[in-house]
Symmetry: C2
Subunit: 211 residues, 2 copies
């Protein structure tokens, strides 16, 4: 795109650059005011929900970010779809990460509500260990929303346990259909919406992208 | 939540478990049919857009996933908001990752369209090096949508370069306001929508969560 390099300083170009600068100066004033107004610092509860791709991967991206700042991280996976995920292989290598997989598989694979409930309960027991430990800076509760959706865990008890965590500890909850009470308790909630998905176009889940 | 452990096998409970099993059997049949229909494997173009949190962090989560499967990854950041991000600190330590920051800052900080254009052009030159290299399994083009939105790069040229990449190479593009032509060219597109955001509630961006 060499035609973009060293743009000729025509009058039109000069005026466009001036308009851009003025627009960006106005934008910076707005951004700076927002930053000045945002001064509170404390542990956050983040929720990644919705039907689109990126709920768990966004949590794992924040996990990498947290390690980069020297935080220790605890992970509990409540639904284990497969045993060969790249994120588990990679993050288990990191000394800052404690990774626990409690789920026995997708609910439609196990088809066993009693076993899934027991597995979710065991997962929550591990989550509480992290939520009681001020040395853990970030707790990732992957697919917790699924365990709540099926009633394997009590949402009020889960919220109470999360809210009694150390003040500076961050928590990320992922999974479709986050319960309203959990959304109300959260600081940041993102709904990952599907615009299009390769799987629906007949493309298989591929290592490194989908798992 | 001990009342959930070892649930008593009352008639109601037994019936509820049976209904759950039947529902999951039906769900599994649907899921298995979808999986059987999805057989194609090739490099994907994924886009994370929208105004919510998680566009870049989802890309970095997939980056970790890709490393876990032994892929080499190339990253180009087109907008560099700050120089102390945890993701850069962490992933620069990984031998599988080649990390390039080309942006000079947010557009409202630089306020200089000519400099931002030159910087985006340099970023795209690096992106093309990755897009020409079959040894690179995943290319992350962070905030590319911003460079396209402001016209620093030509979207048709960008799409042409992405579409001429090695067959099995995956590409993730992030940033608000993905152009329609790029969305049409993509395999998977997720719109990260804001349900709520801590920043708007007066909480500062915090290390390990927001950067």
């Amino acid at each position: 795109m060499s035609e973009h390099q060293n743009p000729p300083a025509t009058d039109a170009e000069t005026e466009r650059n001036a308009r851009h600068k003025a627009r960006m100066e106005r934008k910076k004033a707005v951004v700076d005011a927002s930053i000045a107004a945002a001064t509170d610092k404390r542990g956050l509860l983040l929720i990644n929900t919705g039907n689109g791709k990126g709920k768990s991967s966004a949590a794992f991206g924040v996990l990498a970010r947290a390690i980069g700042h020297g935080l220790k991280v605890g992970v509990v996976q409540f639904v284990k779809g497969r045993s060969d995920t790249g994120e588990e292989a990679f993050f288990r290598r990191q000394p800052e990460v404690s990774w626990h997989v409690m789920g026995d598989g997708f609910t439609w694979d196990t088809q066993d509500r009693t076993a899934d409930t027991a597995s979710a309960q065991a997962g929550w027991a591990q989550a509480r260990v992290f939520l009681d430990d001020p040395e853990i800076g970030l707790v990732v509760l992957d697919e917790l929303n699924i365990a709540l959706k099926y009633g394997y865990l009590d949402v009020n008890q889960v919220i109470a346990d999360i809210e009694s965590r150390p003040e500076m500890q961050h928590v990320i909850v992922t999974g479709r259909a986050a319960p309203e009470a959990l959304i109300e308790a959260a600081d940041t909630v993102t709904d990952m919406g599907v615009v299009k998905h390769a799987f629906k176009a007949g493309i298989a889940a591929q290592a490194g992208v989908e798992f």
